[in-house]
Amino acid sequence: MRPDEPLIRFDWIARNLGEIGQRVGEHLVMTLVAVGIGFVISFALALAIRRWRSLAGPVLAVSGVLYTIPSLGLFALLIPITGLSIVSAEIALVSYTLLILVRNILAGLESVPAEVSEAAIGMGYTPWQRLWAIELPIAVPIIVAGVRIATVTTIGLVTVTSLIGQGGLGYFIVVVGIRQFFPTAIYVGAGLSIALALVADLALLALQAGLTPWARARGTAG
């Protein structure tokens, strides 16, 4: 990097708006796919744990170990199997969502008062109806809290996938920025990644408010 290279070249940003938009889109899609698949797997695991209690220890231990492995290490372990591909990136990203999502989905379902569940049973709800109509709505705040953490975390981790040829905004940070000593690209990539995390967090908060209208009603009445 030349000493007189400015930290931000606005003309570069103006000239590359198209690619910046495309990378933001890629970043979002990678995040959505990872959190979406992670949620489905975690939901199934949480239900399985509720059915078979003894699964709790092993599931949480395995997802805890996965969570501890540094992302670059996990990508590296996947490269010999699935290559420098989007599949390697997504497998690693999904595995990082499991610990938080399983924990929060479980905690959310456990937060349903026993008398509420029993009242539903007394009213003749089948287990699936009870889950869908009674327990899930009550569990929404804790589940969404988990989804928020998983989403914000995943948005940060997507940048690391640039080291295995993927990366969304991480492409700007690593490939254009660090490897070619071009600060503008680093700041565009890192800044937009942080902005994306904040926007996603707020969007999920709004989603939670939309899913639990009664919480708001109680708030204004009380």
Binding site: T68, I69, P70, S71, L72, A76, G156, V160
Partner: protein, 245 residues
């Protein structure tokens, strides 16, 4: 499973176990690159967290610091700091990737420690603190003899989060060309060398897990003796883990 064999063959090859690029030296580099910023962060974050927790001043700061810390991508921080420290290393022997890595790891390590020190002190039963005060303890005695011992497990949980995150993120220092275990992974990718790639990944994973276990042990051992029967309650109330890096 060929690649696991290749990784293990690489790990058990005597050639990897000596010299500047050997495994012992890389592990040592990794521990130094992680340990120095972690200790520096402890020196700053513990007093700040204790002050906020003891006085209740700046509580919003302590909580939002934790949330912001989560949104900062570790790779992003490394990148953000790099252009700022380049003038420092220009014309010197210091590797240009070293200062940004140390600064980024220091910055990453602070939020969990501050937040947990604050939460640890706030969660203490106020009656205990007031009892101490009623017995004529000074503020400094309250802090060191009542609050600190009771809050220690929660504070150490924050240190554990930071330590694991720092060890994991130190791997990314290799992107800026410095040593540590991440070197093997990036070189393994660029040289298409599965043995080095997988061997390096196994070492990195192992170091992170060992760090986690060491700090989990410290945390468990730190529960005040008078509270030992409640140990399990402490563990079950475990904190949300920090973000992976």
């Amino acid at each position: 499973m060929d690649f696991l064999g290749a990784g293990i063959a690489w790990l058990t090859d005597a050639a990897q176990w000596s010299g500047a690029e050997g495994i012992p030296n890389r592990i040592w580099e990794h521990v130094l690159i992680s340990g120095i910023p972690l200790i520096a962060a402890l020196l700053v974050a513990v007093p700040v967290g204790l002050y906020i927790g003891h006085t209740g001043r700046g509580a919003l700061f302590a909580v939002s610091l934790g949330n912001i810390g989560r949104a900062l991508p570790s790779l992003g921080i490394l990148g953000i700091v790099l252009p700022l420290t380049l003038p420092l290393t220009a014309g010197t022997d210091i590797p240009l990737g070293l200062p940004p890595t140390l600064v980024a790891l220091f910055a990453l390590a602070i939020p969990p420690i501050v937040t947990n020190a604050y939460v640890g002190l706030r969660e203490i039963d106020r009656d205990l603190v007031e009892a101490g005060r009623g017995m004529g303890m000074r503020e400094s005695q309250l802090l060191t003899q009542v609050e600190l011992p009771l809050a220690l497990p929660v504070i150490l949980a924050g240190v554990r989060t930071s330590a694991v995150q720092v060890v994991a993120t130190a791997t990314l220092g290799a992107v800026l060309g410095i040593g540590g275990l991440g070197r093997y992974i990036l070189d393994g990718i660029s040289q298409n060398d599965d043995g080095q790639l997988v061997g390096g990944a196994l070492l990195v994973a192992l170091l992170a897990i060992i760090t986690e276990l060491i700090f989990a042990g410290l945390q468990r051992a730190s529960v005040s003796r008078g509270l030992q029967p409640q140990r399990r309650a402490f563990e079950l109330a475990g904190q949300a883990p920090g973000p992976p890096a």
